[in-house]
Symmetry: C2
Subunit: 418 residues, 2 copies
């Protein structure tokens, strides 16, 4: 079989399994999750061995340290995977939920039912924990899934695939509901993202390059998350103590995450005290500052920011700073240079707060809170398969509901249309 035929065969099996998953009851889906969690713990030794073989080969191939770090599967990471499945089992089952029923003048009742999307293709880097997370979310949401992890995690992913299949079967669900592609050939991805007959949506998880490539070539709809160029705007009426805490936390809590602030905007009227305080805090944590001319006038040690800085996701201890003259200027800057991910205003002015949340065109808009809160767990979704910067379908953190759609349900009593 060619790679294409192999992937089409996987797609066909996924489509068939999706029919059973869509009608599976909550008890069976939870049983599969809990059984898989048990099996992960029971197979700790085998998983560790598979991971060690993956790690040895990756080291021999010269994989960089940060990626090796993500590939590694410690005892703690194995336990966390199992606990993650148990948490998903405890979430409410979204499938079959009927809402919004209304009586229509014709006598029919019209409402909606939440149903799975069908088959979800997930493409991700060499992080074995994503295999289990993604499988768990798809099982709970009644979808079938085809997983394609990074090639460095091949052995470990195959071992996890076998465990998940066993968990599904123990619960009377089709093992094909979760399939991990068993080839590292890159051509597999090309088929996966174009076989519209068998795949309903693609969720890529990884760097911007991967996601851009997939979005460009996919024929299947993609729930995508490109970059996170997030802003905090300190308004003239801000509580400056809150502003300093939020701007510090949004930048320094973690540098490599997509909801980390990359550009700080400060209203000219409060720029002097706000930046004086923040410059100290950032200096203490070794954050490099790059600023506009007015920032440089206030903080002489700051380097000049280039035009490119305003649209750069540093993912590093670097921050660009711009002094602005108005709320309008701040909103315009964010909508032009931001990535429509997460942006925050620090203000005590109610009208400014309400204008900011309405006019900033981002997936998450915040008033007086750190951008770091933009996260499925923090929002109460229980789990997260990614953060969408798209406007279509899912926007912001994507939990179980983002893996579903709603159909219309009509209850009649023999009505016909006049």
């Amino acid at each position: 079989m060619s790679i294409e035929e192999q992937i089409l065969a996987i797609g066909k099996k996924a489509r068939a399994a999706a029919v059973y998953m869509a009608k599976a009851n909550t008890h069976a889906k939870n049983a599969a999750l809990l059984e898989t969690a048990k099996l992960i713990r029971a197979n700790k030794a085998a998983l560790t061995q598979a991971n060690q073989a993956d790690m040895a080969q990756a080291q021999a191939n010269g994989l960089e340290a940060a990626l090796l770090d993500r590939l590694a599967l410690s005892d703690k990471a194995i336990e966390t995977m199992a606990e993650g499945l148990e948490q998903i089992a405890q979430l409410p089952d979204p499938i079959g939920e009927m809402t919004d029923f209304k009586n229509r003048p014709t006598g029919i009742q019209v409402g909606k039912m939440r149903v799975p999307l069908g088959v979800i293709g997930i493409i991700y880097e060499s992080r074995p924990n994503v295999t289990v997370d993604a499988a768990g979310l798809c099982i709970k949401s009644g979808n079938a899934t085809i997983l394609r992890g990074g090639s460095e995690a091949f052995r470990c992913n195959q071992a996890l695939a076998a465990i998940v299949a066993q968990g599904l079967e123990a619960a009377g669900l089709p093992a094909d509901a979760v399939q991990v592609i068993d080839t590292t050939d890159r051509a597999a991805v090309g088929t996966l993202i174009t076989m519209t007959e068998y795949v309903d949506v693609i969720v890529p998880r990884g760097g911007k390059g991967l996601i851009e490539r997939i979005s460009r070539d996919a024929k299947v709809p993609v729930i995508k998350h490109l970059d996170g160029i997030c802003h905090v705007f300190i308004d003239e009426s801000a509580n400056l103590s809150h502003a300093a805490n939020i701007a510090e936390n949004a930048k320094t809590h973690r540098y490599g995450t997509c909801n980390t602030m990359e550009t700080l905007l400060v209203h000219a009227h409060v720029a002097k005290p706000a930046l004086a305080e923040l410059a100290q805090r950032y200096a203490a944590k070794g954050v490099e500052l790059r600023g506009c001319k007015r920032t440089m006038a206030l903080l002489p040690s700051v380097k000049a920011a280039t035009e490119e800085d305003w649209s750069t996701e540093y993912l590093a201890p670097i921050l660009s700073i711009k002094v602005v003259d108005s709320l309008d200027e701040a909103i315009a800057h964010i909508n032009q240079y931001g990535s429509h991910h997460t942006d925050c205003i620090v203000t005590e002015n109610h009208s400014h707060a309400m204008r900011f949340i309405r006019e900033v065109d981002s997936a998450s808009v915040m008033v007086n809170a750190s951008t770091r809160f933009a996260d499925g767990f923090e929002y109460g979704l229980g789990a997260e398969i990614g953060i969408s910067t798209d406007k279509i379908h899912a926007r912001g953190p994507v939990g179980l509901e983002g893996l579903t759609s709603q159909k219309y349900v009509v209850f009649g009593h023999g009505e016909t249309r006049n």
Copy 2:
């Protein structure tokens, strides 16, 4: 300017207008709709003249009668356009609506706000009324729109574009919020559906060929409606009087609409009486019947249905009929041959009704009601820009809400993440 440059320029203006439309208040949007309605009535003579010039050229070019019929703009059609805008003005404004706020343990409150998609491209056939309908829905939902109508309606669409622009300006809104592409060059569509920087979603309205072509080539997400192969399944426990009324209405109320039934499935236990009654009704209306072998045994005058019949949208007085042995067989047939549009079960058995609505994978699933009810007005959406057979974003009849998305709103009090 090349065609591509022209369309990019239109896109740029639309993107700028979208910023103003997104923050426009309900009063201004309604004023634009009502003013446009007034102007349509006041310009009846000029619109009629433009339409007559379009009609004369289309006749000279040998356009077929059915298409000429859609192109024609009677006095009544002009009044209906104006009334349509007045109805849209009366619908609730979905934009800015905030819902689902929850307190999180960290102290932040997380909820959602409904916002416009941004710029919507609409591609449709030579039907001038669609120009006004689509403009009205996009204005009310706070979007900017780029309209591309069929070339036969060129003069009339340009006249309508000028009127809508006047209506927007009278209400203090940007005239560029509704732009009608002013070239009939086909290359314009190619640019429109690929300029992801300026267009957020494409809604094609027209035949299957048009929609397939657009879906294949588009880089912008498409809300698409392919075909409507709708089914009615008469279950063994059906009220046969309801069944006859529904099956007659679903087929014969209108032949050319997407929610018309194309295949009738009948449980073997009730096939004899159900088909005897329906054969009479269909004969009286001149509907041609094509059936499986068991249907032919019961109704000797019925022609044999071929495999192709089961997946054909006739849009004509033709019906295919299949006798099945079980609910499972009916569901499997619908999911295999249908188009995931609208399907109905006629039954008095509650468990069968609930299994049907859960397991049939269609945008609208109905119990004891005619498939002809699958319609934005009948569902209470107030208006409809199309019916989506996609699962992503909008599914089923798409009203104002389908032209919006939801962003997350976080209200804090200075919270930072631990």
